[in-house]
């Protein structure tokens, strides 16, 4: 940063998380399973806002939201209200959104919580200002970039899906912290089985960012957590650049353009909406009884923190590994299923941490998008343990399983990857390698450590199929013979 001191960065997040485990929308009986469906096929008078229709609250959504609020250490309101947030936009059938509000006499579902995250080995507390329920708007579909599309198509299948809004105080001090917070949050919601963060658009976030106690800028349209670090970094850079040039950062709302990877002005301060919040008259206040909260709390599944601890103690995993696995519920579930099938937690964790996760990350895949099953991974590890294939072959086989979903045994068989364990075959190959590398053999005779090079050549010649231990053994035997012959 040009040798300058980094100005203090303050980031607050507003996360919108769909309650994907609900079967129906927040205020009507339409199916919430909208992904990949024909446009406007999951709609009814209520979610279309047809005149005369009325919303009816989905009780299951309240349960899910209370669970999330408890997990985030929030205070649950005894009496909560829905408010109307009024503004015009074509994705909203009623031109208002049924939401909740913490001012104007409103009470959101829960307030005043916190979540601890760990950044570079240090524990940090992030304050949660509120958690509330609201309805998702519909989806606008454009041809190409929004400002160049000849039309806008509206799909109301998403309109009315239950959204949990979680708002933090500006307690985060870097894009990395924001990412860690979001990963932690995602894992919690996944463990509560209320939101599957791997689904497209299931978790979105807006962020407000200020530098050195200056003006707050809001960045909207961060459609996935992968984008968060990128969007925030860009915005911080932009503001730093302005401050360096002595320009004032304007209070405004900016839009994250995923394609160009920049933020652009959406609304200036003058264009800010006045949402004219007022209590939704079609929904009665909801009383949340103490024993209902207790009941929900009692049903609460194991949360990431407890699961991480259990992974460390029960499976003897290092904290880091346990945290990475528990960081995405699907990974932790995958791991435990593997251990159930084959009680070698360390090996399984190693394979997941090093090869599987790296492959997924490099190819930008969710575990759910890959075709590998716990049965596959276990079978592969067993093939190695049985000596059928080498570990090196295992590393080759894994990406194939992820892509094709073929069982490892089949891949190994079809591609002739079985380990060469025949002494006779390997001796022939050793002889051949010795013949081709006289200099290396000379070196090895003097300095035994350099034998690794010869082993490597054997592996190369066999495309990794040679049993490396046996190869090593044969080479040493050969060298010993040669030394003896030389002395003679």
């Amino acid at each position: 940063m040009n040798g300058m001191v980094m100005p203090e960065v303050k980031i607050g997040l507003e996360i919108h998380s769909q309650l994907t485990s609900l079967k129906t929308k927040l205020f009507c009986g339409c199916s919430s399973d909208y992904r990949g469906r024909d446009p406007n096929s999951l709609v009814c008078p209520v979610c279309l806002g047809v005149p005369g229709s009325l919303p009816v609250l989905n009780r299951k959504a309240v349960e899910g939201a209370i669970m999330a609020a408890l997990a985030l250490n929030c205070k649950i309101s005894e009496r909560m209200f829905f408010f109307r947030k009024n503004y015009y936009y074509p994705d909203m059938p009623k031109n208002f959104q049924i939401s909740q509000y913490d001012r104007a006499g409103g009470a959101p579902l829960a307030v005043d919580g916190h979540l601890h995250i760990e950044v570079d080995g240090k524990r940090k507390r992030v304050q949660i200002s509120r958690v509330h329920l609201e309805e998702d708007p519909g989806r606008l579909v454009h041809l190409g970039p929004i400002d160049q599309s000849p039309y806008t198509l509206v799909d109301y299948n998403r309109a009315g899906i239950a959204l949990l809004e979680i708002v933090t105080e500006p307690d985060l001090n870097s894009p990395k912290e924001a990412r860690i917070f979001l990963q932690r949050l995602r894992s919690i919601l996944e463990h509560l089985e209320i939101c599957d963060g791997s689904l497209e658009g299931a978790m979105r976030c807006d962020a407000n960012i200020s530098l050195a106690g200056g003006t707050r800028v809001e960045v909207k349209n961060i459609s996935s957590f992968k984008e968060v670090e990128r969007a925030l970094s860009f915005e911080i850079m932009r503001q730093e650049d302005m401050l360096e040039k002595g320009l004032a950062v304007e209070r405004e709302t900016r839009h994250w353009d995923e394609v160009r990877r920049i933020t652009i002005t959406l609304r200036t301060k003058e264009e800010e909406h006045d949402y004219r919040y007022f209590p939704e008259p079609d929904l009665v206040p909801i009383m949340i009884a103490e024993d209902f909260i207790e009941e929900v709390g009692a049903q609460m599944p194991e949360l990431p923190e407890a699961r991480t601890r259990r992974f460390m103690l029960k499976y003897d995993l290092p904290r880091y590994d346990a945290e990475v696995l528990v960081g995405v519920k699907a990974l932790a579930d995958f791991f435990e299923r593997c251990v159930e099938l084959y009680n070698k937690p360390k090996e399984i964790s190693n394979w997941m941490m090093s090869d599987l996760l790296r492959y997924l990350y490099e190819n930008n895949l969710e575990l759910s998008e890959s075709k590998i099953t716990p049965e596959h991974l276990v079978e592969m590890i067993q093939l190695i343990d049985e000596g059928v294939i080498s570990g090196k072959i295992g590393k080759q086989v894994l990406p194939k399983i992820v892509l094709t979903g073929q069982p490892p045994r089949q891949i190994v068989g079809e591609e002739g990857l079985i380990k060469i364990t025949s002494r006779e075959t390997l001796e022939r190959i050793v002889d051949q390698v010795f013949g081709e590398n006289p200099k290396a053999v000379e070196d090895a005779l003097v300095e035994e450590k350099t034998v690794h090079f010869l082993v490597g050549q054997i592996m190369k010649a066999t495309k990794g199929k040679a049993d490396p231990q046996l190869a090593n053994q044969i080479i040493l035997e050969r060298l010993r013979v040669m030394k003896a012959e030389g002395k003679r």
């Binding site: 008078p45 279309l48 806002g49 047809v50 005149p51 005369g52 229709s53 009325l54 919303p55 009816v56 609250l57 109307r84 009024n86 015009y88 074509p90 059938p93 009623k94 031109n95 208002f96 104007a104 006499g105 806008t152 509206v154 006045d274 004219r276 919040y277 007022f278 008259p281 079609d282 929904l283 009665v284």
Partner: protein, 488 residues
Amino acid sequence: MPRLYQLAAKEVVEKVRDKETTAEEYVSSIFERIREAESRVHAFVTLIEDEALQRAREIDEKASKGKTLGRLAGVAVAVKDSICAKDVRTTCSSRMLENFVPPYDAAVIEKIHMEDAVVIGKTNMDEFAMGSSTETSFFGPTYNPWDLSRVPGGSSGGSGAALAADETALAFGADTGGSIRCPASYCSVVGIKPTYGLVSRYGLVAYANSLEQIGPMAKSVYDCALFLSVIAGYDPRDSTSVRMPPRDYTVFLKDDVEGFKIGVPKEFFGEGTSEDVEKRVWEAIYKLEDLGASYEEVSFPSLEYALSTYYIIAMSEASSNLARYDGLRYGYRIDRDDTDWSTVYSKNRRVGFGAEVRRRILLGTYALSAGYYSKYYLKALKVRTLIRRDFEGAFRKFHVLIGPTMPIPPFKIGEKIQDPLALYMCDIDTVPANLAGLPAISVPCGFAGSLPIGMQIMAAPFREDLMLNVAYTFEKNTTYKDRKPPLK
């Protein structure tokens, strides 16, 4: 011998059940009468003669097969045009919904169908129920059958006029601030605004959700009670609907008010109340005293603020409710799309809505705006609570409260339409019941020359039984019900 179309609902049901007449004969007679009177009265926006006759024949067939007929067998019902009926155009008397055909039936329409009633058409009203004279209808005014140069009241003016002109036996109204009671009073018929939550609002196009109720209108207290028995009841689709066991309200009509305590709020005879109205209503109170009731004058200082409170709440809610009419999904749409969506919305709304609707949207938007919300809307909610408490106190002492329905007799068409405030003042006696959620009924109590005057009887929440009995006893012991308008 009265003509078929003049029969009370009670008589129609008896005659159809006893096969003294067929539903088809009766409904045909209704449409003959409509053809005779409608060109002068203009009570309807849409008539569905073919569908109605078809329905009547189905009921006759049911009768001929010996099946049990419903409680409204064959009875003609006119439906206010803000109540959705499947596949029947529902306009709210607005250009905005000129061609809107709802894909579903309102809850009350389902209920009357189950009881074998026959919907004959949709009645004219003030645009989106915003008015007390039916003059703001996009389709032109309705004329009062008692004096065709005068208004029938509003906003359910078409329903009131259709009853007075013998074009129907029963009519649906909806009452946000007097919209049932005002036309009942001006047309010398009976109309009930039920307790808030007694009748499902599912399918009622919203004007001000927290204030309005669908209610029955008829030519006698008995028919009104019968009609109410059919349409009242819990509906899970309306969250503000109250769980009450179904009741037959006709059993409470006892022709006996011995021991009844009547409260007479002074504020109901305030400035602007015409002498004729004051006299007729007091005569009615003395009549009830003669019949065994006692009365006491009381004062509710909070009522002074009722009208302004009402208009702030109603307009605020309306500004949000009517936001959905943007021309995108249904309703009026200017045939040009060469500009951005917000320009198209503005144009559609400027042309699609009439002046009074635009005025109320603007005022409501203002009242909810940042900086004004607590000054207007929140304050109005507080006053509303005070008014409700005042009534609660009164009903610990009195069985019913009585006053005029309207401060003045029906006025001339065009007389007040240019003076919104004068028109708003007409609602002064009716809005308190909406603010407090109380049941109220208007019954004919005399005339100013040839112009009808109505008496309003209010009761505690869900004490429609008391209110109906007082109204019935009064009707039984007077002759106003039998007087017919001069319309031939």
